[in-house]
């Protein structure tokens, strides 16, 4: 055991003496979460809109009031005719135009039906959809209110509810995604680099010629990354929870067990890469192209897997990040327990075992 801890101590010295490693380990996660949390967000606040009210009656007035006091919209302009819509979009000043048909209140009263047109600038489809979603929600709420006052309408009103994340906050998605990416980066990339570094240096041979068992050499090299990864995950969770209000509704112990499982998955990927790569550069390139890109692009983090072409879907389904992201998201946001996540967990354990077996096999071949 003393040998083992001596080895772990030496590994920590390597990490803490290398500024670049430290920046990747601690700087990147924090910068990324702040970036994602503050800058890269599809939430909408105070979006400029224009109103074309062809009716100008009490009902349209109160709907406009509701919209402008919601906090999501600022009324930038009041238009007078339909031709102005195109112009106001072209100037780029507004993201949405709401059109009330003429005789709105009257039609509502006599026909029990009146039309509102919501036109969004869908150059950026995400923002467009979000704006539409907000607007229609406000109008529906208003409709419910007047339905309560007057006798109920007979038409079917769909009630939209964005469960678990009623405000469609982006951070809810980014925090689980970020934990996944960072763990992949730290565990797989950093371990594969640090292991190939020993190979490149020639010290791996010296270690293998020592009485230290090869298995123990590998374990003591990856233990520091496991410990650091747990600390980093905690930092991301704390920032996400206290700074961005991302809930952690599920069981914290389960969350940490799953995080540890994924760390082991990523570490075995790193070990596997290091058994193949001869130089640090190769290890870096393989980790970046082979692990980081799929983790970011093919895990459901940014693009929904269901919409991908089949070959990419297949990649996404053998990608351990996909499952881990579902697990973290569901535990944190939905408060799901193992009874809902056992499938994903089982798949993750399976992938991990395959990776460990493959690494051991490769390592043996090298020794023969």
């Amino acid at each position: 055991m003393k040998r083992f801890w001596g080895f772990v101590h030496k590994e920590f010295l390597h990490i803490f003496r290398d500024k670049r490693t430290l920046i990747i380990l601690f700087g990147m996660p924090i910068i990324q979460i702040l970036l994602f949390g503050y800058a890269i967000t599809n939430e909408v606040r105070n979006a400029n809109i224009a109103i074309l009210d062809l009716s100008k009656d009490a009902v349209t007035n109160s709907i406009i009031n509701k919209i402008s006091s919601s906090g999501y919209f600022m009324i930038y302009d009041n238009l007078d005719n339909l031709d102005e819509i195109e112009t106001v979009f072209k100037t780029g000043k507004v993201k949405e135009v709401i059109v009330f048909e003429s005789g709105f209140a009257q039609k509502l009263k006599s026909n029990k039906k009146a039309e509102i047109q919501i036109i969004t600038d869908a150059t950026d489809p995400n923002t467009g959809t979000t704006l539409y979603f907000y607007t229609s929600n406000i109008i529906k709420n208003y409709q419910m209110e007047i339905n309560l006052v007057q006798q109920p309408f007979l038409n079917i009103i769909p009630e939209i509810q964005a469960r678990y994340n009623p405000l469609l906050k982006g951070v809810y998605l980014f925090v689980p995604g970020l934990i996944t990416i960072i763990l992949m980066l730290v565990c797989a990339m950093m371990t594969s680099i640090s292991l190939t570094k020993e190979k490149e240096l020639g010290s791996m041979e010296v270690l293998l010629a020592s009485p230290m068992k090869p298995f123990l050499v590998i374990i003591s090299k990856v233990i520091p990354y496991l410990i650091l990864s747990l600390i980093i995950s905690t930092v991301i969770l704390l920032i996400g929870h206290y700074n961005f209000g991302v809930p952690i509704r599920g069981n914290l112990i389960l969350l940490y067990l799953e995080i540890t499982l994924f760390i082991i998955t990523a570490l075995s990927l790193g070990i596997l890469i290091s058994t193949k790569a001869q130089t640090q550069q190769v290890a870096l390139m393989v980790s970046l192209a082979g692990l980081m890109l799929p983790t970011i692009l093919l895990s459901g983090f940014i693009f929904p897997i269901e919409n991908m072409p089949l070959p990419l879907q297949i990649i996404a389904h053998i990608n351990p990040s996909t499952y881990f992201m579902i697990i973290v998201r569901d535990i944190m946001i939905k408060g799901s327990g193992l009874e809902f996540l056992w499938q994903e967990t089982a798949i993750l354990i399976g992938i991990t075992l395959v990776l460990i077996i493959a690494s051991i096999k490769n390592f043996r071949i090298r020794l023969q």
Binding site: K2, F7, K10, E205, L208, A209, P211, Q368
Partner: protein
């Protein structure tokens, strides 16, 4: 000739990589305390043979006993009795001299007290007490190599394997390096060294010449020169290598 203690006994050792025979049926013995030179051109099979003797690679066939232990079944015991310095290796650059010593002594299972004593002994012997807390990367290459050798024998092994230890080092430092080797040999450590510097061959007690996986000649440098009727090891090597 007195009956010497055999510490390395190799019989018909062979290593194949696919169809390529890297080491072809070699047999030899190495005696306790001697400096045994393993010579040959690049790719002659020196490193492969040495890796098998250190327990890093398994042979395809043949037998070997290192310090009395079998290289198939008792590699763990062998590893405790040997020291190894690879051709690229010169300690961890980002650790200090003392940290490197502590680490390597640690993986050989030395106690804290032993490590402390060994560190002091080693530093004073090399006359570099003041460099104790310097990072390895701040030292000149020659010092790194000497330190690496001292670290390779920190656990007082019976045999030390040196795989081209003086690559890229200037002749003066090489000479100083060999002083350390002599010193270890005088204390009874058997030194098994591969090299392709022929001047280093002259420093060895006995040498074997490897050509294309086989041992073509094995004897004292003086006898080899005599046998081939030449005056330098260079010429012996050229004669053998050209067939």
């Amino acid at each position: 000739m007195e009956a010497p203690n055999i510490v390395i006994k190799v019989e018909n050792l062979t290593k194949k990589f696919g169809n390529f025979i890297a080491v072809n049926n070699i047999s030899f013995e190495v005696y306790k305390g001697e400096i045994f030179g393993f010579l040959g051109a690049n790719g002659a099979g020196k490193s492969t043979a040495m890796k098998m003797l250190c327990g890093l690679w398994l042979p395809t066939s043949g037998n070997a006993k290192i310090a009395g232990y079998d290289i198939y079944k008792e590699t763990e015991l062998i590893k405790k009795k040997i020291g190894y310095m690879s051709q690229k290796f010169s300690l961890y650059e980002d650790l200090t001299v003392a940290e490197n010593i502590r680490f390597y002594a640690g993986i050989y299972g030395l106690s804290n007290q032993q490590i402390e004593a060994k560190t002091n002994e080693l530093l004073s012997k090399l006359g570099i007490e003041e460099l104790r807390n310097s990072l390895i990367k701040s030292l000149p290459l020659g010092w790194k190599q000497k330190l690496a050798f001292s670290v390779a024998i920190i656990h007082d092994p019976e045999i030390v394997f040196l795989d081209e230890p003086t690559g890229g080092v200037d002749p003066i430092t090489r000479r100083q390096f060999w002083d350390l080797i002599y010193d270890a040999s005088n204390r009874g450590v058997t030194v098994f060294v591969t090299t392709h510097y022929m001047d280093e061959a002259e420093y060895c007690d006995r040498i074997s010449m490897m050509v294309a996986g086989k041992i073509e000649a094995l004897d004292k440098p003086s006898i080899l020169k005599q046998n081939y009727g030449v005056s330098t090891m260079d010429e012996v090597f050229l004669k053998l290598a050209r067939g």
